[in-house]
Amino acid sequence: MTALPWIDVVGYWLGIFLTFSVLSFLYKDNPFYKLVEHLFIGVSVGYLIVLQYGDNIEPKVIDAIFGGDLDGVWLGLRIVALVLVLMMFAKVVSRRWAWLGRYPLAFVVAFYAGLQVNAMAQAELGAQIKFAASSIDAPKVDLNAAPAEALTSLPGSSPAVAAKLVAERARQPFTSVDDAATRPSLTDLERADLAAARGHLIGLDARAAVGPGERDAFGLVSNLLLLLATLASLVYFYFSVAHRGPIGAVSRFGVWILMIGFGAAFGLTVLGRISLAIGRAYDVLGRTVAPEDAARIHAPWASLASIALIAGGLTIWELRQRRVQPVPPPGADGQS
C-alpha cells in the first residue's frame, strides 16, 4: 500500500486546525471561529449548487429538454416547468414583473400542501389512531402452542431459539418457563440470553407462559396507561374550551405525560451528542484513518500545534480587544 500523498497529509492537518477553530467558539465568538464559519458556509453553498446542477438541472432540464430525453406530451410538460422557472426569475429582471413569480410559488406550495395532507393522513394520523385503537389486552405467549414468530418476539429469543423451542415442545411439552429456557438443545449463549431476559415485570416470565389464557398484569396496566396518556395529551391540545375544572385536571395530566416524554427524549439525546464529541476526538487523534496513513499524519502533534496556534492567537486578540475597548458592555462578550 502506497504512502499518502503530502497534499492529503496537509489536508488532514487543515481538518484538525478547523476542528479546534470551531471548538474555540466554546470560549467565545472569535476570529478563528468566524473564519471557519464563513469558509464553511461558502464551501457548502458551492457544494450545494454543484449537486443541484448535477442532480436536477442537468438531467431534468438540459438533458430532458435539449438532450432529447423526452418527447411528445412529456416534453411539453417539462417545458412548462422551464417557463415556471423563468417566471420565478422575473423579479430579478424587473420589479414590474415580480408578480409573475407568484405563479410558480402558487403551484409548488399548493402541490406540496396537497401531497402532505395525504401523507399526514396516512403515516401520522391514520397510523397513530390505528395503533392507539388496538387492544390493550396483554395475553402471555403460550410456549406450548404459539407459532415460531410469536416465540421469536419474546425477550432474549431469536429465530434460532424459536425453532429449537418448537422442536423441543414437540418432543415434550414445557412444564414451566424455566424448563423451556434450559432445554438441552439450546446453546450456552442462547441460555444465557434467555436467563438475562427473565423477569416478571417486563421480562420473559411476564411475556411467556406454558398454558393458554394467562395475562401479563403489568403489560395490561402499561397499555391502559398508554391509552390514558394519549387521550389526556390530546385533551391538552384542545383549544375550544378553557382548561379549568375537570378538563383542566385532565390536560394537566396530559402536560405531565408530555414533560416525562420530553425528559426521556432529552436523556436519549445526550448520549448521541456525546458520541459526536467522541467522533471528533477520534479524528484529531488520528484514530479514524488507516494505520499507515496515521503514521504519516501525526495527528496528535498536529492537534497540539493547532491548539498552541489558536491559544496564542486568542491571547493576542484579547489583548488588542482590551486596548480598543477597556470595559465590554454587559452581555456583549460573545461567549456561548
Partner: protein, 298 residues
C-alpha cells in the same frame, strides 16, 4: 451591600467550566479505558436476529443516509452490519438520499465491501470470516438521488427508473446479473437503513415501508431512537439500533468489537458529567431558594 450568598455567586457560575469538564470527560477515557460491559438492548437484538435469519445469498438494499457529522454514531453499526451481511454472503445494493453522503459512501465501500473486514485470522474476532466483494457482481452501488421523500417513494415503485437504469459507475443495471428481478424495494429480502435523520428511516417507513410491508431494520442516531421506537413496536421496523450504545451492542452480537465498544466508555463518563451538572444545578437552586426564604437579599 452585604457579601452575596454562595448560592447567588453560583447562580452566575460561568458555564464554560462545564464545557471544560465535559471536554476532559470525552478525552481522558480514550487514554484510560474502563472497559465496562455493554448489553444489547431488545431493539438492537431484534435487528441482529432479523439479519441473522436471512437466507444465504439474500438480496439486501442498504440505504446510507448520513453526513460526516453522524458518522461516530452510525459508522460502527454500518461496519458491524456489513460484516454480518457479508458473512451471510448477502448480495448488497447500496444507495443514498443525502447529498453529503456520496464521498463518504465511496470511502465506506472501498474500506468495507471491496476488501474483507474480518479476513480469516483477524485478531479479536472468532466469527466466520468475510471476503472482498466485487463491484457489480456481489454488490451494486446505485449512487445518490436527491428529492427527499419523493425519491424514496420512487424507490418503492421503480428503483431502476429512479437511477435512470444505471449504477453509479455507469454500468447499465440490465447487464448486472445480481440486479435481475430487483425492480423495486419490495423485491429485496431486507432493507437496511443507516439513517442520520431526514430523509431516512422515518420517510422509508412512511412512504414505502408501510405501503409495501417491507422488511426493514434501521440504525439511527440516539436522538431519533425515541422517534422511531414506536415503529418497532408496531412492526413497521423489524429492529432498531440506536446511537453508539446500540452500535456497541450490535458489535458485541456480531462478535467484532470496534469504535462503538470503545466509545461506550466515554459515554459513561460523559453521561455522569451531565447528571452531576443537573444535580449541581438543583443544589444551587434550592440553596438559593432557602436563602431567600430566610430573608436573604437577592
Amino acid at each position: 451591600m452585604a457579601a452575596e450568598h454562595w448560592s447567588e455567586r453560583l447562580q452566575r457560575f460561568d458555564r464554560r467550566w462545564i464545557f471544560l469538564i465535559m471536554g476532559l470527560a470525552v478525552v481522558v477515557p480514550l487514554f484510560v479505558p474502563l472497559n465496562l460491559p455493554t448489553r444489547p438492548d431488545p431493539m438492537t437484538k431484534a435487528a441482529y436476529n432479523t439479519v441473522e435469519a436471512l437466507p444465504e445469498g439474500a438480496r439486501v438494499f442498504v440505504s446510507i443516509d448520513l453526513d460526516p457529522s453522524a458518522t461516530p454514531e452510525l459508522e460502527p453499526f454500518y461496519r458491524a452490519v456489513i460484516l454480518h451481511l457479508k458473512r451471510k454472503r448477502a448480495r448488497l445494493v447500496f444507495a443514498t438520499t443525502w447529498y453529503a453522503a456520496p464521498p463518504l459512501v465511496n470511502r465506506y465501500l472501498r474500506e468495507t465491501v471491496d476488501r474483507a473486514i474480518a479476513p480469516p485470522g483477524a485478531e479479536g474476532y472468532d466469527g466466520a470470516p468475510d471476503r472482498a466483494y466485487q463491484r457489480n457482481v456481489d454488490y451494486v452501488y446505485l449512487g445518490f438521488r436527491d428529492g427527499r421523500s419523493a425519491i424514496i417513494q420512487a424507490f418503492g415503485s421503480d428503483l431502476r427508473g429512479a437511477f435512470d437504469g444505471r449504477a453509479d459507475d455507469g454500468t447499465p443495471l440490465d447487464r448486472i446479473p445480481m440486479m435481475q428481478g430487483l425492480n423495486k424495494l419490495a423485491d429485496f429480502d431486507l432493507v437496511v437503513l443507516v439513517s442520520a435523520g431526514s430523509p431516512g428511516a422515518k420517510e422509508y417507513v412512511q412512504y414505502v415501508g408501510t405501503r409495501n410491508r417491507l422488511p426493514m431494520v434501521a440504525a439511527c442516531t440516539a436522538v431519533s431512537t425515541a422517534d422511531l421506537a414506536p415503529y418497532v413496536q408496531t412492526g413497521q421496523l423489524l429492529g432498531l439500533v440506536g446511537g453508539m450504545a446500540g452500535a456497541a451492542g450490535y458489535e458485541r452480537l456480531v462478535g467484532k468489537p470496534g469504535a462503538g465498544t470503545a466509545g461506550a466508555d466515554v459515554l459513561n463518563i460523559g453521561t455522569m458529567v451531565v447528571i452531576l451538572a443537573i444535580v449541581f444545578g438543583n443544589v444551587v437552586y434550592f440553596a438559593g431558594r432557602a436563602h431567600r426564604r430566610r430573608g436573604g437579599r437577592s
